[in-house]
């Protein structure tokens, strides 16, 4: 069979080099986004960011002090030349609160991009679909590039895409749970239907989880707790970066289907040869 299929072999580096992640018209080489919460020190965060190669880095507006970026333990580590600082609205309970936070960030000089996180309950930090939809509409009208954190709900994803969000960011599992892609079946549908990039966000606890999401065709992943909580955040960031690349490459190279049983080549129609 392989003798007949004369597809010229692609150099894997070419596959990846010609494959930017495009969000709202902006191209990124890295498909690995990193969150900045929960790290034990500014130094640990700096090392992890370096090792991750991430270009899109989220910061919680509740947490950072944008009036004093030079002394803030998170803001002081970020380099606006290398990182797109993506402010998130975590902790917001209503669309109004999220919109106020986004406006504040823009007024303080950040780019008008916002990761919309409407997490009204503090235990599992699950996203509120109703308020997220409302906030997305308001922010898009005000000219923000909106990246909403959502349940793995394919219809909600389409509704947000129609409103004009730049991505959808369905969760793999609750934030910080390290449980992996538990919402696999719904994320598969979201990826299949989406016209905007799909970023699997939350719950990815191991590089293999990130690779799994990327193999499924996710456009990017976002990871925070698994890095911040690792004994060596830098080492873990590098491991995730490799897994994201591996998963993407596998997706581009075309994965074979998964089968329950071994299969002979053509047991039913072999007689026709």
């Amino acid at each position: 069979m392989s003798e007949q299929m004369q597809i010229p072999p692609t150099h894997p580096e070419d596959l990846l080099a010609d494959d930017p992640l495009v969000i709202a018209g902006r191209a990124f080489r890295s498909r690995f986004m990193v969150g900045t919460g929960k790290f034990p020190s500014a130094e640990a965060l700096r090392v992890a960011l370096e090792a991750s190669g991430a270009e899109i880095v989220t910061v919680a507006l509740r947490r950072v002090d944008l009036t004093k970026p030079q002394t803030d333990s998170i803001m002081s580590v970020l380099d606006p030349k290398r990182h797109l600082i993506l402010p998130n609205t975590s902790g917001a309970r209503t669309a109004q609160e999220a919109v106020r936070l986004a406006r504040m960030a823009r007024a303080m000089g950040l780019e008008p991009w916002v990761k919309l996180e409407l997490t009204p309950e503090p235990r599992y930090l699950l996203p509120d679909p109703v308020e997220t939809l409302k906030a997305a509409e308001m922010l898009i009208q005000e000219g923000f590039v909106v990246l909403p954190y959502i349940q793995a709900d394919p219809i909600l994803a389409k509704r947000l895409e129609e409103l004009g969000t730049a991505t959808v960011m369905p969760l793999g599992a609750p934030i910080g749970s390290n449980r992996g892609v538990r919402t696999r079946d719904m994320i598969r549908i979201i990826i299949e239907q989406a016209k905007v990039p799909v970023v699997v966000d939350a719950g990815l606890g191991a590089p293999s989880h990130a690779a799994e999401a990327m193999e499924m065709g996710a456009d990017a992943v976002l990871v925070n707790t698994a890095l911040a909580d690792a004994a060596d955040p830098g080492g873990m960031a590098r491991a995730f970066a490799l897994a994201v690349e591996a998963g993407r490459l596998a997706y581009l190279a075309g994965l074979g289907p998964v089968r329950e049983t071994a299969e002979a080549s053509s047991p039913l129609t072999g007689f026709l040869e």
């Binding site: 034990p40 002090d65 333990s73 406006r103 504040m104 303080m108």
Partner: protein, 395 residues
């Protein structure tokens, strides 16, 4: 259940408490065997039976394992960070008579009684903001005539000019009163039940509105319904059997998590270390007891914040950091005017950890955690911009 609700019009949790009289809780704790502790440690979500086992003497040989689990759970949910806050005492005038408290009207305390003016509150806020604090807890005694709601509202409004997050620890309020403060930008409410044992409660609270057990018990439900984002509860350790009060505290936290699902519930572990002469401490709580209590509650409530005040010694506080603590106070004074005014007014209790805020932050860093000064933003609240989206100040 319905009948119970009717009987306790001031608190939904009172009906839960009725189901767990102290005899039943004590029996459950006493019945726990070593195998119950092992089972509790292997479960992802603990039952109340598991909680009782972990609070029982049978769990003592397992403290190290409990500590490891508590450490993991806390890190996973909160990360390797410790929030910093500072108390600001607005007044030490008190019309209640709680036998264990130096502020009590008949405590025999001779120190000066003082209620800060609005200008003095501002001066205190300025002094604390200079240390870098972004999270302040405003406290008063139990004296609604001296520190009425209007006064509290003005204090919250002033504090909000200086701090990202403002909380109160004052007498129990009505729901509409909490709502008024929340609308002004109040983030959190702290109110300790002191003890959940009705009998002990009646013995140590001799005077004032605070004698009304159910009204106080229902305060946090009212605060949650009013939109307070953080609800901090606790029993004053030393008033009653800590295992039983700890069990009830955990049930209260669980109840509030369901009832006020948009509020983050936190638990404090204030330990009564000294009391006025008329109040011998009948149930002293040792270091090992306090650690067991914290660990048992962490395993039962993985997502609850744990506050640790400067009532505890510096060295002991540092040891507790990896065991589930999420918030610590620092540089505290328990005297009104204790920061900017430098006055020797009557203190509520003696501070054990006298380190400066920066020294505490350094100790947190040494323990491998990032000290977090800011974890809220004025922009969350309507009051900051009247809804118009204007940024109030760039400083």
């Amino acid at each position: 259940m319905e009948a119970a609700r009717v009987q306790h019009k001031d608190s939904g949790f009172a009906a839960v408490l009725d189901l767990w009289p102290k005899e039943r809780v004590k029996r459950l704790i006493a019945a726990a065997g070593p195998e119950d502790v092992v089972r509790a440690l292997s479960r992802e979500q603990l039952t109340v039976q598991d909680l009782a086992a972990l609070l029982s003497p049978q769990a003592v040989p397992h403290l190290e394992e409990m500590a490891r689990l508590a450490h993991r759970l806390t890190r996973r949910h909160f990360g390797r960070i410790i929030g910093l806050y500072v108390p600001l005492y607005l007044s030490n005038v008190c019309t209640s008579d709680c036998t264990y408290c130096f502020y009590a009207v008949h405590s025999g305390s001779r120190g000066a009684r003082r209620t800060l003016t609005l200008e003095e509150i501002r001066a205190e806020c300025q002094a604390l903001a200079r240390y870098g604090f972004q999270n302040v807890l405003l406290l008063t005694g139990d004296a609604p005539k001296t520190t009425p709601l209007d006064y509290l509202a003005q204090a919250v409004a002033i504090a909000r000019e200086y701090f990202a997050s403002v909380s109160i620890e004052v007498y129990a309020l009505e729901e509409e009163d909490y709502r008024r403060l929340v609308d002004l930008g109040l983030e959190g409410v702290t109110l300790y039940m002191e003890t959940y044992d009705r009998e002990t409660y009646a013995q140590v609270h001799l005077k004032g509105k605070k004698r009304d057990f159910d009204y106080r018990l229902g305060a946090m439900e009212r605060a949650g319904r009013a939109g307070a984002r953080r609800l901090s509860i606790g029993a004053l350790l030393g008033l009653f059997d800590w295992r039983v009060d700890g069990f009830w505290t955990a049930l209260h936290a669980r109840y509030l998590q369901k009832e006020c699902w948009q509020s983050a519930v936190a638990v404090s572990f204030p330990r009564l270390r000294q009391a006025p002469p008329r109040h011998p401490i009948r149930f002293p709580v040792g270091d090992r007891d306090l650690v067991q209590l914290m660990l048992a509650l962490r395993l039962f409530l993985p997502e609850a914040g744990f506050n640790l005040s400067t009532r505890e010694r510096a060295a002991f506080r540092d040891r507790l950091i990896p065991l589930g603590v999420t918030m610590m106070s620092a540089g505290s004074s328990t005297r009104p005017g204790g920061y900017a005014l430098g006055e020797e007014t009557l203190a509520q209790f003696e501070i054990e950890d006298r380190r400066t805020p920066e020294e505490v932050a350094e100790a947190i860093r040494r323990a491998g955690y990032d000290p977090v000064w800011k974890d809220f933003d004025r922009a969350f609240c309507e009051a900051s911009d009247g809804g118009a989206g204007k940024v109030i100040s760039k400083q």
